[in-house]
């Protein structure tokens, strides 16, 4: 496991992650585990808590393929994103950077 982004703060956690690493580049698709460690002013450590999130860029690719769907694209959707709940918004959605 390698660290890709680290945040720190005080008191309650309310932290946004934009999917970028410390070099300000988007991380690759995959599952990322966020681990919260914390310590009080008296030096007492709390029990760490974790949360896994998935960075997934295939939604747009799926949408692009659905623009001209084929049976192959349908299979791609079923295979690559069976866990996603998604909806087609419309042509105003475009891949970033395009």
């Amino acid at each position: 496991m390698s660290s890709c982004a680290t945040f720190s703060g005080m008191s309650n956690v309310n932290q946004v992650w934009n999917g970028k690493n410390a070099s300000n580049a988007f991380v690759a698709d995959g599952v990322y585990t966020a681990t919260l460690t914390y310590i009080d002013e008296a030096g007492n450590l709390g029990a760490p808590v974790n949360k896994a999130v998935t960075g997934e860029q295939h939604i747009t690719r799926a949408w692009e393929r659905l623009h001209s769907p084929t049976s192959e694209h349908s299979r791609f959707l079923q295979k690559s994103a069976p866990h996603l709940t998604w909806k087609l918004i419309g042509p105003m959605i475009s891949p970033k950077g395009s």
């Binding site: 660290s3 990322y32 966020a34 009080d40 002013e41 450590l45 747009t60």
Partner: protein, 187 residues
């Protein structure tokens, strides 16, 4: 009554009798000190854990700095929330007494809570300075955090602008003192 200014004085005594015999003078140096001593008090760990988390903030150090032309004697009382003295330090001049959280009477560690350390002091002339105090907390309880949640368990930061571009992590942390945290993302 005349008040002498602060400084060093020499008192000389010479005796003469009725027929003109005069003794040798004898003298004594005295200091008039009308200046009140001053002191500052600092604390290294406003919160510490004498029992829990060995090696991390097990004690707290009070730094006493006094100023006066004469030696300053001080007493340093640590009281609990009921104003009962649990620990006393005494000393002269600058010092840095360390409190390990134990009380003076039974050598047992005082319970978690707030404690007030009050410094009283006087110089060698009997002038008393203004008392000064600091509050410290004994905290042997580890902080707790609620389950870490993410607003979007799956998100697409680089594509589909405006739709699940980020994920927001939340957790509520509870403790008697300030807690600092680190959130590390690992692949």
């Amino acid at each position: 009554m005349h008040l002498w200014r602060t400084g060093q004085y020499t008192a000389t005594l010479t005796c003469s009798d009725a027929v003109g015999n005069t003794s040798l003078p004898t003298s004594k140096i005295v200091r008039v000190d009308n200046t009140l001593p001053t002191a500052t008090l600092a604390v290294s760990n406003a919160a510490f854990s004498p029992i829990a988390s060995p090696g991390a903030k097990d004690t707290t150090t009070f730094t006493v700095r006094v100023t006066d032309v004469t030696a300053v004697h001080w007493t340093f009382d640590i009281t609990n929330s009921s104003s009962t003295i649990v620990k006393t330090f005494v000393g002269t001049g600058n010092a840095a007494p360390v409190w390990n959280g134990k009380n003076s009477s039974s050598n047992a560690t005082a319970p978690d809570g707030l404690y007030t350390a009050t410094l009283t002091y006087a110089d060698s002339s009997g002038n008393t300075g203004a008392t000064t105090s600091k509050t410290v907390r004994i905290d042997n309880s580890a902080p707790t955090a609620t389950a870490l949640t993410a607003s979007n368990a799956i998100f697409s930061p680089a594509t589909s602008i405006g739709i699940k571009d980020t994920t927001l992590f939340n957790s509520t942390i509870a403790d008697a003192v300030t807690v600092s945290w680190t959130l590390d993302h690992q692949e």
